[in-house]
Amino acid sequence: MSHHKLEAIDLKYGYPDGHEAIRGISFEAVHGEAVGIIGANGAGKSTLLMLMMGLLHPNAGKVRIGGVELTAKTLPDIRKRVGMVFQNPDDQLFMPTVGEDVAFGPRNAGLAELEVNQRVTMALERVGILHLRDRAPFKLSGGEKHAAAIASILAMEPDILVLDEPTAGLDPRARRRVMRLLAGFTHTRLITSHDLDMILDLCPRVVILKEGKVAADGLTRQLLAEPDLMADCGMEVPALLQPCARCGHVPFCGHCPSGASVPSGASVPSCASVPSG
């Protein structure tokens, strides 16, 4: 049995105000797989993550991590194996320095101080911010805060990473940096985002949510290129998967005839305007 497998089985959850946020969601992510969870606002992405992490308890259905069902009894062990990076790093960073914050999890796990220090150094090196160890988190830039939040999870050496909007609010350079970082991980990864280009880059598989249910589950490149499905789920086909305005091919195909002209008013890129590769 793999410790890195993550399963949601017919999950249902309604908030106390009566809103049914999750209405029977089932999917699984296997060892080393990166799965994107996408959907319009209110589709149930964040609630699903909270259920997967045991922060909310489902009204029906089960969550299994590494074959072990998530219950009040198994929760402490499971939380050692699954690390969650919050959308807003300010919610996650609360200690006086970055180093102390990264050490928070390992210290709670009761590790000896020597091992805590080793883990802090390893995690900060991994995300490339070892030089920020003694800086106060609230003085960091957005990208640095995201890196610190990821390091604080890596220090716990989880098998599975759950990331809620990891590129939200980042400038293009910081976004690329976080994406490079995530691409280098071999953990099982569950990533929610509205950044479909990032999902396209990092997750070969995607689960699309609509009104608390799974609308589609399959290969990212295929599903994200289906205009009807995307429109039905309140999203748009990412620019990189939209057909070429000149030749009708998906951009990057390299088949755009040199003489083809762009129709007036076309807002999508053409093969000729986007470098292939």
Binding site: L55, R79, K80, M84, Q92, P96, T97, R107, V116
Partner: protein, 279 residues
Amino acid sequence: MPRQVERHFHSSPLTNAIRDMHRMESLSLLDTGIHRLHPVTKLITTIAFLIAALSFERHAVGRLLPLFLYPLVIAALADLPWKPFLKRLLAVEPLIVGIGILNPLFDPVPISIGDITLARGWLTFLSIVLKTSLAVLAALQLIACTGMERMLSGMHLLGMPRVLVMQISLTYRYITVLAEETGRLLTAYTLRSSGKRGVRAAAWGSLAGMLLLRSFDRAQRVHQAMRLRGYSGYAPLPPGTRPGLRDAVFLACWLSWFVLIRLADLPLLLGRWMTGFFG
């Protein structure tokens, strides 16, 4: 953000207070002999110090002076800068003065010190100022040498109920959350207040309500992030963290000193000895 508002936000008393709080706790990351002591040792010593300071009767000003040796020695051994401590002490001083300033009126009995005659209330006033200054200094030094989480772990080891430890820990963490949310709300208010200073009385209710709801929401997310990283009410001390010989020596020395200055009037004895020596 317009410069005026930006300045208001970045240098408001609120943000300065948060910065000061972080600075005080960041001193606990220093690595000195005092910092390496077990938190229980430092807690017991501080409690003994406070008991010693508060146990002196209200006119005994001179006898309090030897107690200043403790904060002086701790500051020197723990490499603590004086400026942030004195700054914080000065911040609470008006409150202390406010409490004791009427003492000379309530206790006008004249007493003579050498050639000077003054109301006995001045002595009690001075005693209050000295005692509270000592208490504030000792408490700040304890946080600066131990850190909040380790100090709370020490309190738990000394028998403080876990639920109380958790309350203090979360209150301390949420002060920042509350202050940040207040800062954001005030900035948003200032940007649309057409340059008027302060907050209109009519807006107080909705601002306070919004602050409560937003802080509650944010505090919940912070707590979730803490729980996901194994937080269960307080941060346990690393395994193997036990008081050693160094702790025993530290505790024995200071407890002996506190008992000595409580039993013997050292300033008086020193004065007599010097009078005898020079006389």
